[in-house]
Structure formats: C-alpha cells, structure tokens
C-alpha cells in the first residue's frame, strides 16, 4: 500500500482568527514495505503530517492517497474505518490510551471496533502480547498495575492487534531508558522485516534513523526540507547541525576524523561502517 501526498496544505482552525498553517506544499511518496523516518524540531509539522496518514486530519488543500483511498478536503468523515484499520497509529506516550479493566480487553478493543468477534479478538490479544514480548500471565491483569515500559508495550499491542499494513510510531521510545529503547526498536525492526509492515517513525534519535530507516524525511516549518536515503541526507553534516538536528554519532565522529586528515569517500553512519572504513587507514600489527 503506497501512500502519496500531493500538494498538501494543512491549516489549523482555518477561517478563524486563530488559524495557523501547519503544513505547506507537501509532496511525498511512502512506498509499500518501506521504513521511513521523519525528523525535525518540535513544531515542525511531523505530528500533523502523520495524522494525515489515517485521515485523523484531512488536508485543507491537496490530496493524500493511501492505497486505493483518496483523501481530499471534501472527504466525508464517515466510512473512514477501513482506512484506520489499515494504518495503525502509535502516538507519543501511547500508554495514556489504556482504559480497560484487563490487558486482554484493552488489546481486543481496537479489533472489536473494526468488527472482529470477541472470541477472535481475545485470541488476537494473546498473540499480540506475545509479539510485544510480554508474558501471557499479564492478560488478565489490570493494565494500570504494570510498569511504564510494560504499559507502553500493551498499548502498542493494542494497535498491532488491528493487523494494520502500515505502522506509524510517534517517538515510541520517548522517556524510556536505553534498554527499553533497544527492546522497542528491536520489536519494530522485527515487524518490518518479518511481517513486512510499512513503518513510519517519528524520532529524535539519529542513531535509530541510521540503523533502521531506508528513507528519511526532514521537516522544517511545515515543509519538507530534505528527503532521501539516510546515507545521502546525513552527508551534509553542516546543514543538519545548522538546524540543530544533529547527525548520527558515527557521522559526526567521522567528520571530525576527516578534519584531522583521515579520508572517507562517504561519511559512514554506524560504527561498524566506520570501523571498516578506518581499517585500511591504520597499520596492521
């Protein structure tokens, strides 16, 4: 399922004295089965952009095409359910969406809204809990008794239970410790590689962009400032640093080595790449 933005503008509270343009002239294609990272400052329009992916917001002008479905400013708010089922959204701090008495019921909530029977949804819940790496004995516990990290995974399981084809994650690791961050990112990679989900990730961690994404979109003041493969986008270290967006640590470190006198054809993104590039430039014992 490809997703295409064509000339998309979005204005909050259009037609009122408080109107403010959040997106301007967005043209973007997100290919099926790709892993796209969206980076940019708070307020650059990242969150507004992803809310167009399942028509939580409709463009004020332009068209968003999600698979077969075209969303225009005139699109009716009804009959959006099939779309919402196909595009799963994990918002920032998703644990705040938990509300049911048990973990099982909460995970089953989404699928049941999309018409799954209670029985199937219960099965799905057990399956998804396992998928996010939590033990089955949590199923009948109250989600509010779990630790913060566990709550977050239950919330993600609740989104995955809708069996979406596209998974959108808005800073899924915010506020977690490094171990928790690794586990969540590991899980997302698995979903992308094994279940072939299209993944769209909003993040501030350039390391994650470098390690996982095959595409990166740089947002600035509601427009797309740059788009491309991470290995291309991160070459321009100065451009990114000017915008205080940062680059992967390896890239920054390699740029420093380059100033010292080392030579790189292209700046590497991960320490493994850097080590490989350094090896011919160092004496062997």
């Amino acid at each position: 399922m490809d997703i295409t933005f064509k000339d998309v503008d979005y204005t909050y509270q259009a037609g009122t004295p408080f109107e403010s343009q959040a997106l301007h002239d967005i043209n973007l294609t997100i290919a099926d089965h790709s892993f796209t990272a969206i980076i940019g400052h708070t307020g650059s329009g990242k969150s507004t952009l992803v809310q167009h992916l399942n028509a939580l917001l409709k463009p004020t002008s332009g068209t968003v095409t999600i698979g077969e479905r075209k969303i225009t400013p005139e699109t009716n708010n009804k009959h959006l359910k099939p779309l919402r089922q196909k595009v799963g959204m994990v918002f920032q701090f998703p644990e705040s969406q938990l509300f049911e008495e048990t973990v099982a019921k909460d995970i089953a909530f989404g699928p049941m809204n999309f018409g799954m029977s209670a029985e199937d949804a219960a099965k799905k819940a057990a399956e998804m809990l396992n998928l996010v790496g939590l033990p089955a004995d949590l199923l009948e516990r109250s989600p509010f008794d779990l630790s913060g990290g566990q709550m977050r995974r239950v919330a993600i399981a609740g989104v995955l239970a809708m069996t979406p084809e596209v998974l959108v994650l808005d800073e899924p690791t915010a506020g977690l410790d490094p171990a928790g961050r690794r586990e969540i990112m590991g899980m997302v990679t698995q979903l992308h590689e094994k279940q072939h989900l299209t993944v769209i990730l909003i993040t501030h961690h350039m390391e994650d962009v470098a390690s996982y994404a095959d595409h990166v979109v740089v947002m600035e003041h509601g427009t797309i400032a740059k788009v491309g493969k991470p290995s291309d986008v991160f070459q321009d270290v100065a451009w990114l640093q000017e915008r205080q967006l940062g680059v992967p640590e390896t890239t920054e470190f390699a740029a420093r080595l380059q100033k010292q006198g080392f030579h790189f054809d292209r700046l590497p993104l991960t320490e493994v790449e850097l080590a490989a590039a350094l090896l011919p430039q160092l004496p062997r014992e």
């Binding site: 509300f99 049911e100 008495e101 109250s142 509010f144 008794d145």
Partner: protein
Amino acid sequence: MQTNQLTKRVVLPALLIALNVVIARFFIIPVPMTHGNINLCDAGIFVAALLYGRRTGLIVGGLSGFLLDLISGYSQYMVFSLVVHGLEGFIVGWIGYQASRKIQISALFIGGLIVIAGYFLTDTLLYSLTPGLVGIPTNALQVLAGAVVALPLTIKLRQPLKL
C-alpha cells in the same frame, strides 16, 4: 514523616475541576430550542462525588459550575451554579460515597433533581416562569446523560485510581 495528604486535598479537587471544565467544553451535544446544548459536566461531578465523597463533590461541583459559566459567557448563572452544582456534588457524595450500587443510583437521582429544581428556580427568578419550565427537559436530559456516563466510570476507575 509528613506525607502529601494535606496538599493533595487541595490539588486533587483542583485537577478534577480543570478536567470537568475540559469535559464540559469538549462534549457538547446540541439540543435545539433551549439553552442550546447539554454538556457532560454533571458526569464529572458525579464521578468526583462518588469516588471521593461529599467534600470533593461539593468543591468540584460548585467551583467547576462557577468557572464554566464565566468561561462560556453565562456569567449571570455563576453564583447560582456555584450553589446548585455544589449542593449536587455534596449530596451525591454524602449519600453515594462508598455505598452500594443501588444507593449510588438513588444518590444520582437526587443529585439530578437538585440540578433540575435549582435551575428551574434560577431561570424563574432571573427571567420568568416560562424559561424555568423550558429548562426542565434539557436539564433532565443533561443529568441523565451525566449519570449514565458516570456509573460505569466509577466502577472502572476504582482499580486504576487505587481506591
């Protein structure tokens, strides 16, 4: 050593008032021909009163009614709402706090009557008998909606709020 129980007696009602204002501003169901709409602020007052008792019910009811009227431009009702919703919260909390389900339902019923009667008197006093009478069905619908939402909430909130 001190714990923060005393401070919480100020802060928790304050947050519930804020939440109530938000709930009332967000969930407005238009009703033609009357005050224009009903909102869910009674649901919030009922929940506060049933979960935390008459003191919290009184404060949350009275002050959220008071604030809401100012913010929504009905400030002629401010003082009346303070009294009516305050009394509503107090009575519901008094009767329904830690009581059986049946008693809680009757508490909500009485609370609802207080609101209906209170606004009937207010409108009659401010304007005339007709607006007072016209308000009765709207207010009845509003407290009914509040009660229908509040009851399942109080059950489901016990666990997460550790009550």
